[in-house]
């Protein structure tokens, strides 16, 4: 099931946008022209990743500096231990969509 998250124009280049949908927090990114979407809360502690720092293809949590690789969600630096969930994305008519199960 593909759902619209936000307009592609809303996602800042080389940065992150937090989007809440149906009670879930997502982070949308545009890196080198490509879109990515991950969960929006750090897996180490409940912190908003969108308040953190995008460095190349890494998002760093603002609370404890845990790092995640944006395209894959893998942990790039402690204290994060659990990978970040990533979502398949597509652009449809200026909207950024993600694929959710079901």
């Amino acid at each position: 099931m593909w759902v619209t998250l936000c307009g592609t124009g809303e996602v800042p280049s080389e940065d992150v946008l937090e989007v809440q949908r149906d009670g879930h927090v997502y982070c949308a990114y545009r890196l080198s022209g490509r879109h990515y979407v991950t969960d929006g809360l750090c897996t180490h502690g409940v912190a908003r990743l969108a308040e953190g720092f995008v460095l190349d293809d890494i998002i760093e949590c603002p609370m404890h500096n845990g790092r995640f690789h944006i395209p894959t969600g893998r942990v790039d630096g402690p204290p994060a231990c659990e990978p970040l969930r990533t979502y398949p994305v597509r652009v449809e008519g200026g909207s950024l969509q993600i694929q959710l199960p079901g």
Binding site: D15, E18, Q20, V25, L41, H44, G45, V46, A47, R48, A50, E51, G52, F53, L55, E60, C61, P62, M63, H64, N65, R67, G77, P78, P79, C81
Partner: protein, 338 residues
């Protein structure tokens, strides 16, 4: 997302400054240059003080020379702390290499430090919650003295390292240490102890005083200096409050102190925005100064304040340091609706 979102995060309830997102992002940028510069200054001072030990050998000046060298050596705390945050350098391997070298000198295994310190940032100065809060209000003079000379730290840290090296993780560490990290913590404790043992073996087998004169003796004898700085971070401040401006102390320090301490005199600023690297803390201060209390005017002034509060706590156990907010801070809070 709106500021009054019902989403509950670790930051919920904590005071946050009003700062433009783009400005804050700019302050979060990483660089290698400032850290290398701070390291170079520290290195030059270490070499100079070490040369002092060499010149003072077999004279009465040896003890002061060892203390002076130890004062400089103890500031390994600063790069170790910043590298544990991962913000010291843009280049990751450089961050990790300096983390290991400085943590060896400082005497705290990197991974355990990272997790315990993360907990400290989550629950700053909340008694029986903050993993790095070693004492509570009211503070006793002997606690202040022990903390300043480092005695409160050395023995517990040594015990912790030995316990980890023997494979024991205790329940209170479970709060901040994921089970998957046990192996790493245990291995790192063993590695550090093996390093210290190797230095001792060098001294004994090689019949040389070098490891003692340039590492062990000065590390103990000069520790008081960096601990004098560390003690000011939270001692005698309010506890169990969700406002870093009330539970944390910033200081004005000299250029040399700031370089040796890697700008941790901007301690409120560091706690408010741990993603802002040490070299950008003065700029962060400039951006939000109108929302912060005045910093203590210096190290001695901070300790005078601490001792005054400790004495006041004898009459009123609830007394804490009072750092009034500027009138502009009230205006900002009012404008933000928080």
């Amino acid at each position: 997302m709106s500021a009054d979102s019902p989403l509950q995060t670790l930051r919920s309830g904590w005071w946050e400054p009003q700062i433009d997102r783009a400005v804050l992002k700019g302050l979060m940028k990483r660089a290698d240059g400032p850290g290398l510069y701070f390291l170079a200054v520290w290195g030059v001072l270490l070499v100079a003080a070490g040369w002092g030990i060499h010149l003072a050998r077999e004279t009465l000046w040896l003890m002061p020379a060892v203390v002076a060298y130890g004062v400089v050596l103890g500031f390994a705390y600063a790069p170790s702390h910043e590298c544990a945050h991962g913000t010291a350098f843009r280049t990751r391997w450089l961050n990790e290499a300096v983390l290991w070298a400085s943590s060896f000198i400082w005497g705290e295994a990197p991974t355990h430090r990272r997790f315990a310190h993360s907990h400290h940032h989550t629950h700053t100065w909340h008694w029986k919650v903050d993993a790095q809060m070693g004492y509570t209000n009211p503070v006793r003079l002997r606690i202040w003295f022990g903390d300043v000379i480092g005695l409160l730290e050395f023995w517990p840290r040594a015990k912790l390292m030995v316990r980890h090296a023997t494979g024991r993780i205790v329940d209170r560490e479970r709060v901040y240490l994921p089970a998957g990290q046990d192996r790493v913590v245990i291995r790192e404790a063993r590695l550090l102890i093996a390093g210290y043992a190797a230095l001792l073996a060098w001294a004994v087998i090689g019949q040389t005083w070098v490891p003692m004169l340039y590492f062990f003796f000065p590390r103990f004898a000069g520790a008081f200096a960096v601990y004098a700085f560390i003690t000011t971070q939270h001692m005698a401040m309010a506890q169990d409050v969700r406002d870093h401006r009330q539970c944390t102390r910033s200081m004005s320090n000299s250029w040399l102190s700031r370089v040796l301490y890697w700008n941790m005199n901007y301690h409120i600023e560091h706690h408010i925005c741990p993603s802002v690297p040490f070299h950008a803390l003065p700029a962060l201060n400039a951006a939000i100064r109108d929302q912060l209390p005045k910093p203590s005017p210096g190290l001695i002034a901070a300790h005078v304040e601490i001792v005054k509060v400790i004495l006041a706590q004898r009459r009123d156990p609830g007394a804490t340091a009072s750092h009034p907010l500027p009138s502009t801070a009230a205006a900002v809070r009012s404008a933000s609706g928080r």
